[in-house]
């Protein structure tokens, strides 16, 4: 009988895991990123990027903050939808779509300024 209990237990655990996802933390990270950009705090915004994204962003001789400032990403706006799957999240704002990854020190922005492309990955102004 034990094996009969394993599969329903697995299904229940998975369903519960799906219900217990924290969507607030990535949403806050996305809002804070756009709030920093809107306030001209490009250094702070750079600090919220995933390490790979922050490393790829600047051209030679540029800082991350300068590169981010040049991109002039539009306003983020209010959060309209959040999807979290494993260590990755997508946060849709009224003015932008961001992809985030959960690191040991919290959620960081992997990609921002993203536009959908049919059947293909989003094209993003900032990405890793």
């Amino acid at each position: 009988m034990r094996i009969l209990l394993i599969v329903p237990a697995l299904a229940t655990a998975l369903a519960l895991a799906g219900c217990a996802v924290d969507t607030a933390a990535p949403a806050r990270a996305a809002e804070r990123f756009h709030a920093a950009l809107a306030a001209g705090q490009d250094d702070a915004a750079c600090g919220m990027l995933a390490p790979k994204t922050a490393g790829k962003l600047p051209h030679p001789g540029q800082t991350c903050a300068q590169a981010l400032h040049e991109l002039k990403l539009g306003a983020g706006g209010a959060v309209t939808a959040v999807s979290v799957w494993g260590e990755d999240a997508q946060v849709r704002l009224s003015g932008d779509t961001l992809f985030l990854h959960r690191f040991q020190n919290g959620w960081r922005v992997r990609a921002a300024g993203c536009e959908p492309v049919r059947d293909l990955p989003y094209e993003c102004e900032v990405e890793d």
Partner: protein, 223 residues
């Protein structure tokens, strides 16, 4: 010692199952961490990996196919026969068979299980309990595969800067069907091999084989 001997077949497979599952967890963790290092991301412990959707989908997709295999086998062999195969019953016995053959109701014996002596729903449930349980475990494992698979698939899609998909979209996606069918085809081939090879080949002493000297055409004969 007597108890161990009398249950040695179940015990051997239980131990092998647990060792293989533990091996899958350890090797899966090592493989996952190898990929994590390439991506510059933190590695995980075995327990973290075992709790991941990646591990769950890999376990569930194999479980569902095994239980589907046994469910189909149990049900198909009620009506379908194979001349010469130990996996088939005698050619004239195709079907659910008579109450007397099945030792149920008034034909039950003193040693028959209690529910075999009853009638109505209880007798129907007990008469079909093996197929029902195998079928239910298959359905639940497949459901678990779909839930865990959607989580793993969406995590991968987000990593690729793509939209996640709904459960409905996932269970109609090529990814879900590729995972399912690649397991089903191997299980079905294994059953076909067992049915056909048991006509012509022998394994002395195994109840899965007919006696070495039995004719190839003998059907429903086990040693």
């Amino acid at each position: 010692m007597k108890w161990i001997k009398e249950n040695s077949l179940s015990l051997a497979f239980l131990v092998m199952f647990l060792l293989a599952l533990a091996g899958q967890a350890i090797s899966g963790t090592l493989y996952f961490n190898d990929q994590q290092r390439v991506l510059g991301e933190p590695t995980v412990s075995v327990w973290q990996y075992v709790a991941s959707s990646e591990f769950a989908v890999n376990v569930a997709e194999n479980w569902q196919s095994e239980y589907l295999q046994f469910f189909l086998y149990i049900m198909f062999t009620i009506w379908l026969v194979q001349k010469g195969s130990t996996e088939s019953k005698a050619l004239d016995d195709a079907g659910a068979e008579s109450d007397a053959q099945q030792q149920i109701g008034p034909h039950a014996k003193a040693t028959s299980p209690a529910w075999a002596r009853t009638g109505g729903l209880r007798l129907w449930l007990f008469s079909n309990s093996l197929g029902l349980v195998m079928g239910v475990i298959f359905a639940l494992s497949w459901l678990a595969q779909s839930v865990a698979g959607q989580a793993a698939y969406n995590s991968e899609r987000l990593g690729d800067l793509r939209d996640p998909v709904s459960w409905g979209a996932y269970v109609t996606s090529p990814e879900f069907w590729n995972r399912s069918l690649q397991n089903w085809q191997s299980e079905l081939l294994a059953v076909l091999s067992m049915v056909v090879l048991s006509i012509y080949l022998r394994q002395r002493g195994s109840p899965e084989s007919k006696p070495v000297g039995a004719p190839h055409a003998a059907t429903g004969v086990e040693s």
